[in-house]
Subunit: 215 residues, 2 copies
């Protein structure tokens, strides 16, 4: 019977499985609750409910709220930083296109995970040593940046200046999405139309900035 199922259909079923393991169900529920409310405001009861299981099971699988939280946090740090690290170190992408690729990848990611950047920012703010326990991210990111040709002839400060500008233009709209949409009564469609346009002009604007700094 399983042999009759085409491979691509099976892949699809993998991503939205009817039957997840209990452990996975709890993790996905925890992800949802933690990313919405942060660690302190999250209730294990709510996570259990969201997962459709009993509260005791959560402790059976993960021992404690904190433990579960750390697992989710590490996953999410990985997801977020993988985008920039992988793109910058990918030799098959010509250097000039990397900004465009990055804008597109982050836009795709954050349209589906709108809470991700604000979650990472506010939670690592309250607990700065998450990065210490994720030392490889720090090292990998710095390495990825250092090998970029645009840094030739620039000091570190100029490189970071460009990075801050680029990430600000790319990520900021998602960070303020909720408040911004609320202040100007934007529908999801309106907001996403604004975002879509940025895929094109953010890299262009960065080129201007890059040229400015050359002088």
């Amino acid at each position: 019977m399983p042999l009759l199922i085409p491979k691509d259909k099976m892949k699809k079923a993998d991503k939205v499985p009817i039957d997840q393991s209990t452990e996975e169900k709890i993790k996905r529920a925890a992800e949802k609750v933690f990313l919405e409310k942060g660690y302190s405001a999250s209730r294990t009861k709510d996570i259990a409910e969201e997962a459709g299981i009993n509260l005791a099971l959560l402790n059976y699988y993960f021992r404690s709220k904190e433990n579960l939280y750390i697992i989710i946090m590490m996953e999410k740090l990985e997801v977020f930083f993988d985008v920039i690290i992988k793109t910058l170190t990918d030799n098959t992408i010509p250097f000039e296109q990397k900004l465009t690729v990055l804008v597109n990848k982050y836009t795709d990611l954050l349209i589906h995970e709108p809470n991700l950047p604000l979650f990472l920012l506010s939670e690592t703010h309250k607990n700065p040593d998450f990065f210490a326990s994720k030392l490889n991210i720090k090292a990998r990111l710095r390495e990825a940046i250092n090998i970029q040709p645009f840094l030739d002839g620039k000091n570190q400060e100029e490189g970071l200046q460009l990075l801050l500008s680029f990430l600000g233009l790319t990520l900021f709209p998602f960070i303020v999405r909720q408040g911004f949409s609320g202040l100007f009564d934007l529908s999801e469609e309106q907001f996403e139309r604004i975002i879509e346009k940025r895929r094109e002009f953010v890299p262009k604007l960065m080129v201007e900035l890059f040229d400015k700094m050359q002088k």
Copy 2:
């Protein structure tokens, strides 16, 4: 005796008073703790300690943690949005200089209140109807933006696009300050040197963007 004190010295003493009212001491302590940890992770005990008073006094003055929190939140929303609203509606500033004035004002503010933007973002995220209770901010901000001449001939979407870009370039560095400095081992001096340079080039870059959008 007081008459011997020069007026400017008195003003200075006003800003860092030896003797604050108890109510004010609690508010300033609450401000510090809430902005660092957010509502849920803050402990009234810590606020009382920070203020140098007894826990019971906090409830005597403010009735509840939530009540105290709302007072601080409203104050901080006001502080933050006043900058942009006042600047945009100030007729004495020529339009071309408003971006420069805004970058400078926000930079000055956020150097001294580094936690402000991330606090407002993450806390209003968890409780979106803060803006509802601060309706005047919404109305005042929209009015302030609508009267700007640069919007002539532009649709709302283009105006918001520019606003998002400008605020991203201006505020994002402060929002990621802690994590960013940690990832690249930046000292406070290094970070602030980077920030200082942005006072000049952010408005310039915005002019490029503005021109691009004209076409």
